[in-house]
Amino acid sequence: MFKKILIANRGEIAVRVERACREMGIRSVAVFSEVDRHALHVRCADEAHLIGPPTASESYLVIDKIIDVARKSGAEAIHPGYGFLAENPGFAERCEKEKIKLIGPSAYAMRTMGSKTLARKTVQAAGVPVVPGTVDAISSEEEVFRVAKEIGFPVMLKATAGGGGKGLRLVREEGELRSSLRMAKSEAKSAFGDDSVYIEKYIEQPRHVEIQILGDRHGNYVHLFERECSIQRRHQKVIEESPSVIVTPGMRAAMGKVAIEAARVVKYEGAGTCEFLVDKDRNFFFLEMNTRLQVEHPVTEMVTGVDIVKEQIRIAAGEELSIRQEDVRQIGHAIECRVYAEDPDRNFFPCPGLITSLRTPGGPGVRDDSGVFEGFEIPIYYDPIISKLVAWGKDRAEAIARMKRALTEYVITGVKTTIPFHIRVMNNRHFIKGDFDTDFIDKVFFKEEGERTLEHGDVAVITAAVRMYLDERVRTMAQNPAEGTSPVSMWKYSTRPGMRRHG
């Protein structure tokens, strides 16, 4: 087993990995930028090294600096977390060359699965179902028409170099195809400098379901069932759960098998996730494989009891998987809410800043994977994630009730957070019924929210009025201390035991 691991990340995920290290008796080495000297991941590590200016491209993303710290500190392995260098095959290659173990798959597996078209070809060859369409860029307009007719409308035109919704066009019927193709190509050209597009069947009202897998270098594979990640805002996951309400036992076994097949073709080592789109008839199609630890891994940990980070570390150290497929059970239901420093009442504006006070929820079945503390200033340079709140219940209804309870206990002041948004989702009737797809938040939820009447307007006005009254009194007292005394005499305070003076 390793004696020392470097964590090439920051925030909640670095803290998560450090926790696993400490429990396993492994020394952890943190890296930090100039703005992160006070950050929690520095405080929770056994060692910490400054790696440069705040901008990630000058610190957390600089491979040379990370390798240098690994050398200096004597770390035998590097955990990349998610984001930053986690899916960078160049980094994986460099680690291989430097003989430092990267806790993750090989550069080859990362490169194969990292390319959308290559991943598609590879898994398709292994018999994994993919969304019908072309694998390669289409050269001629005639071919676009031929393929579109073959797979049937609606179809999606996608930029080969794509990302971020650019160069993406939905085509409902043949008549729209020519102009849509022109627009997709010109968008792709201006966004990526490459106008090649490919074509895919458009899955209507899709749900996003993914399978967590683990594989070791001895050829053992297990899957840890599914996570439902259809609650997304602008294609970003915000709430995840396990199990998924639409996945049947048969489907679960089939998806698990397929995910393992996909992993096996690239000799995948470590923890990985196969993402699928599921259509309304419960057909599932491979979307992509994430070759890293996922943000939402805790929901799987809560229902299976498997510590995914510890498994990653053991696998990287060359051990065999500690579990066999038949040992893995899915018990109860878990939900995760991603708490971001964003204002849900101002179109999710990022709100970096100082956390002036904090009360973390607790009690049965609640887990808070946080990267902050009271007095911490959330920097503007990185993802505005504060924490991931996870609730476990014996069934979905209890998990929702518990999540709602935990969210209302969660108090973060100084910055706006997405906690209010999550409470509203937990209260939404469609969410409670499990009736949603990946467009639910953007197309249904916000509309319904706009029509909802609020219950406690009186209490809101009362509290604001009392606050204003007290502010004015403080101001008056400061200006004119003699006149501004409280209408309640000091004498009465002492005769009323049990009443605390409000400060």
Partner: protein, 166 residues
């Protein structure tokens, strides 16, 4: 003390009377509410309405109030009655101007309007990037862009004046 609250289009009369230690009778449009109100944590207040317990997070600068209760956000304005009378007497100095300021530190990515251009309420006027996200800022009023204080590519502090609509 008396206040005027404005919720949506509607004005309500609000009175606050202190009747004990941290105990108040708050009157809203003639209806009396007895409450026990304690500031417990930064901007968070513990309110006992009768005996019903609420946690209330109150934000907002000046008249603008933004209150969070159990995940719901209540937005309204609240102004001291005397102050409101004074403002009214003082004329329209502040009316018809709206400054678009940056709500966070970031970088100006794009100006969507030019000086002199007519804009409508809620029309996007400028794009500011922070925390890897592009954010479109909107004009609060309908009017003409009077002045632009920043250039594309400029880094701005939180609260920086970006442009003025009149």
């Amino acid at each position: 003390m008396n206040y005027v609250g404005t919720i949506g289009e509607k004005d309500v009369k609000v009175g606050v009377r202190e009747v004990g230690v941290a105990r108040y009778v708050v009157t809203i449009d003639g209806k009396e509410h007895l409450v026990d109100v304690h500031k417990v944590q930064s901007s968070v207040w513990s309110v006992l309405y009768g005996t019903t317990s609420f946690e209330v997070d109150v934000h907002g600068k000046g008249e603008e109030c933004e209150v969070l209760i159990a995940g719901d956000c209540y937005k309204f304005t609240l102004v001291n009655e005397q102050r409101k009378a004074m403002l009214r007497a003082g004329g329209k100095s502040a009316v018809g101007k709206a400054m678009v300021a940056s709500p966070m530190p970031g970088k100006v990515v794009k100006l969507l309007v030019r000086e002199g251009e007519e804009v409508k309420t809620d029309q996007g006027v400028i794009v500011v990037e922070a925390m890897k996200m592009e954010n479109e800022l909107k004009s609060a009023i309908t009017g003409k862009v009077k002045e632009i204080f920043v250039k594309e590519g400029e880094v701005v502090e939180s609260g920086a004046k970006l442009l003025l609509v009149e």
